[in-house]
Homo-oligomer: 426 residues x 2
């Protein structure tokens, strides 16, 4: 662009470098004065900001249900069309005028929203997913809830919802499990889990296309089927050419509703054809990104004979920074250093196909909270099946090792800082 083409603005230095509106807005929201987040108000004047309440788990009020429901067994709980939740949930409302109200723990039940609520029109919504694990030592644990809380803050800000101090969300997660854990995930069921779903939605009854001025954070806890051991391994179908999940400059890294709804159609079509999930490819090169809503991993040997655990990188912000993903990478580095080189880089479906053809493809798995660590046995790409070794019990040796490390931390077979024990109320 030649100089002089456009007239320089006269309205100040803020117009000089301004090609980063989104990043700039995120920074503003996350700017801290005292080392913690300022109540989610976007551009608080100091005086006004002081009056806006922060999210504060210590203000949590308790209203317990007078009619606790019978706790179903796992099979029953997961057999219906409706997700079965525990007796209680936590909610906290926010408004741009007053900040965060005191959070409430109360009986699980429906939400009331105006038909004009922002979330119903503009997808001002984000969520997290993490599990609570009943250990073989009887204790109830969350797995790295600090990671989920930090990611939730990032997603919340990205989708124009109010910020909060992530450690307060972590405390609320523990508070809900402290109340519902003992009955809904009893000591008589070691090795089982429940699923926690913190959510933030824009509740402003306002059809104007703008950031919500009212919002609600809520946490529910539900049953979820085990999905980590499909018979014969997980079968993936590469993404259709008419469909991209996420793109550079988009929001694929954030756990916002907008990443999920648009992908349901292709996923449903793949399931009708007998596949479990879509392997989302990116760009004409066909970079492997995510397997459904999980991160995707391959174990292969390089042409030089080095054995590698490979997964897509985070730096282009196409994929979710999975808690399972980062834990597996760290465990592989710490515990399989002599066996596997850990590599985060862009890699293409053609590289995977070439490795298979040359006998260098060792294993493959998907990893995330829902699917845990799930062996992948087949990738269907452009009309052909790529068969991936899974070894004994439909689970490759490295996959099994990594899964075992994780399981032992989650269920208390190994005492580890990632397993955060819930202080249960009996």
């Amino acid at each position: 662009m030649a100089p002089g083409v456009v007239t320089p603005t006269t309205s100040g230095p803020e117009h000089k470098q301004d090609t980063d509106l989104t990043a700039s807005a995120v920074d503003a929201k996350l700017t801290t004065k005292n080392g913690h987040v300022q109540n989610g108000h976007v551009d608080p004047k100091p005086a006004a900001a002081a009056q806006l309440a922060e999210l504060d788990a210590s203000k949590l009020t308790y209203t317990l249900t007078p009619t606790p429901r019978p706790v179903p067994d796992e099979a029953t709980a997961n057999s219906g069309l409706e997700t079965v939740c525990t007796d209680h949930m936590i909610t906290a409302t926010w408004s741009a005028r007053t900040g965060w109200a005191a959070p409430e723990l109360k009986p699980y039940g429906p939400l009331t929203l105006m038909p004009t609520a922002s979330v119903l029109h503009y997808a001002t919504e984000c969520f997290e997913g993490l599990k609570a694990y009943r250990g073989h030592d009887g204790k109830l644990r969350l797995f790295r809830p600090d990671c989920n809380a930090a990611r939730m803050l990032m997603s919340t800000v990205r989708i124009s919802l109010p910020a909060f101090a992530p450690q307060e969300l972590e405390k609320l997660l523990l508070a809900l499990m402290a109340v519902d854990g003992a009955r809904w995930l009893p000591r008589s069921r070691p090795g089982t889990f429940l699923y926690l779903r913190p959510t933030v939605i824009g509740t402003s009854p306002q059809l104007g296309v703008q950031a919500p001025h009212e919002a609600m954070l809520y946490i529910v806890c539900s049953f979820m089927p085990r999905m980590d051991s499909p018979v014969g391994g997980m079968k993936l179908h590469t993404s259709p050419e008419d469909m991209v999940r996420a793109w550079v400059g988009g929001f694929g890294y954030a756990k916002v509703g907008a990443n999920y709804g648009p992908s349901l159609l292709a996923t449903q079509e793949a399931r009708k054809r007998g596949f479990n999930q879509i392997l989302w490819l990116y760009g004409p090169e066909g970079y492997c990104t995510e397997a459904g809503a999980s991160n995707y991993f391959v174990v292969w040997e390089t042409k030089e004979g080095r054995r590698q655990l490979v997964t897509a990188p985070l730096d282009d912000r196409l994929i979710l920074d999975g808690v399972t993903r980062r834990s597996i990478l760290q465990l592989a580095k710490e515990r399989l250093a002599g066996e596997l080189e850990v590599v985060e880089r862009r890699y293409t479906i053609d590289e995977v196909i070439e490795a298979e053809r040359e006998g260098r493809l060792v294993e493959s798995f998907a990893a995330g909270t829902a699917y845990f660590v799930c062996p992948v046995s087949l990738v269907h790409h452009r009309g052909k099946d790529l068969v991936i070794p899974t070894g004994e019990n439909d689970c490759g040796a490295y996959t099994a090792k990594l899964k075992g490390f994780m399981y032992d931390i989650m269920y208390g077979n190994e005492q580890h800082e990632w397993g955060v024990v819930v202080n249960e109320k009996e």
Copy 2:
């Protein structure tokens, strides 16, 4: 990819050409037997399909409010943070087992959703926006509601919500205005409008990432401020380099929530800096796509001296197929044929800048239901202001002509098939 790399599947011809999962699923949903849509069930067996009810406006039930609210004047109605809606709304629920229930016209009020509702997590939501116009001849009109209904069907299917016959939605829109029009848009206010917002949301209380098996269609009618004549014209800020609105292979053409929430952050940041909207550019070339949530138009002279009305094309599915957009293109072709050549093609911000520099840039405007036809006076791009002529009254001559054609059809100064008269109940 060399032959023999992957093993051909043995499970049938459906695996031969299957790179079009999304398009294929859309086709399946829209496949008709008798010339109309089959109740939104994805893959109905003939017997089951016969039992699933279609959306049927003739089954509409009426429950009128016993306490009609006072109708505010325009200024009051648009001054608060909450969108003011009319006395009634229409809802219709859908389930995968039974199809569409009879639609209900009932008092406007809150919706009840389970915290696990699909729409709150996975953005299974889409909407439309159209206005009802009180004509200078006293009649109440919708403008091309068939176009909105058809687009709503497309969006609904794209986001894995149930299909319906679009003419039924059109009838429901007319039915709501027939009841609320006379009081909320009285004959004493010719030249004013209300805003209709049909919406479909996924209501299944199910956290599994899958297409909703329950949904709700609803229509509300609200006040909306006039936005077509900002003082000094509309000022746009080109999109940040860290933010892409839509992408080829995405869903930019569908009116789904997922296109809106992620854009709010950059829009809010632009507004803080004094701009009305983002001019969304695409790709390294900087193609002009949309202005905020409106379509974007430029009038320029080519280097050869031909005067053109230029807007982005639909074929790459990046932008919304705007009803205002298509109407303006058609009117320009029909009524300004001697003055303006109508061109739908990709064009870059650099082309606009070059035209301005060479004195060939004539006018620019944004067009959509909310902003109607709104003159653009400035585009801020990479630190510099591009000033666009707007002529008298902050509105260029072509912009004013096209706006006038539209206005006259909308408000009954010209009898035209695009203006669909509501048969009001007095």
